[in-house]
Symmetry: C2
Subunit: 122 residues, 2 copies
DNA sequence: GCACACTATATACAAATTGTCAATAGTTGA
DNA sequence: TCAACTATTGACAATTTGTATATAGTGTGC
């Protein structure tokens, strides 16, 4: 087991998916576009593998959370433009509720650690 | 792909490990004991598989974050009692810093979603 | 006209993480 | 003695994430 196995940033499982849906709520977009928008949520667009974004979009299209079509008259390489569906809007709300619960757990740990530090200083 | 694949609670990767270290900071404990203490951080002790806790403890012992020994004079089945090491205390602080960063990302998403809801109500 | 950088999408494969299942064992109480 | 609870462990499967690479169009500089 190499060092740093639990040393990296502690991300939420499936955090990418709700971020993408939220970005799509603001307007239709294609993958490369979304890749850049993700910086708002702490992702580093230059180091984030684009494949992850495209894969997430494909998965959510299979679930009916988004729909896509090839853009007509696009400059440059063909782009697949995604749009949020009503179903996608629904699951986004559900996911945000779950994220609130995760935040509560997170807060409990952070608070408990703060208390632990205070008890060990004079 | 079955439904609900991203339907479950959005947990943090490796969230179990810092929770265990924090509980151990309060005092030495054995696995079964820690299992119950985890409820404080949103885990459901009755549905959480004990194997996950024991595995996490073994991993952290290999890394030198905790040490353990079989308890002498224990009532009931033999218990392996864990103690936090100074190294373990150090990594706990690092992890909590990372969790603060995750919290910020979480806040941005939750806030953005709140804004999105407000813009769609009259 | 060609190498190169940038935009854009896609897929196969590997690694890491988490979850499930079952085995073992001692104690207590009915 | 049977069941319930405490207690630990390991094998195996599923899920999730990360890496690597392939394809392709456009514009810029030389």
């Amino acid at each position: 087991m190499r060092w740093g196995r639990w040393g990296g940033p502690r991300r939420l499982t499936g955090f990418l998916h709700p971020c993408l849906l939220l970005l799509l709520h603001r307007g239709d977009a294609h993958g490369y576009n979304l890749l850049q928008g993700l910086e708002e949520f702490g992702f580093d667009a230059s180091s984030l593998n684009p494949g992850l974004v495209y894969r997430a979009l494909h998965e959510m299209e299979r679930e009916g959370y988004v729909v896509s079509e090839w853009e007509e008259e696009s400059l440059g390489p063909p782009r697949r433009v995604y749009r949020l569906t009503p179903r996608g809007d629904e699951v986004l709300s559900q996911w945000v509720e779950e994220l609130r619960e995760s935040r509560r757990a997170l807060d409990r740990l952070i608070e408990a650690h703060k208390t632990h530090l205070e008890e060990h200083l004079p």
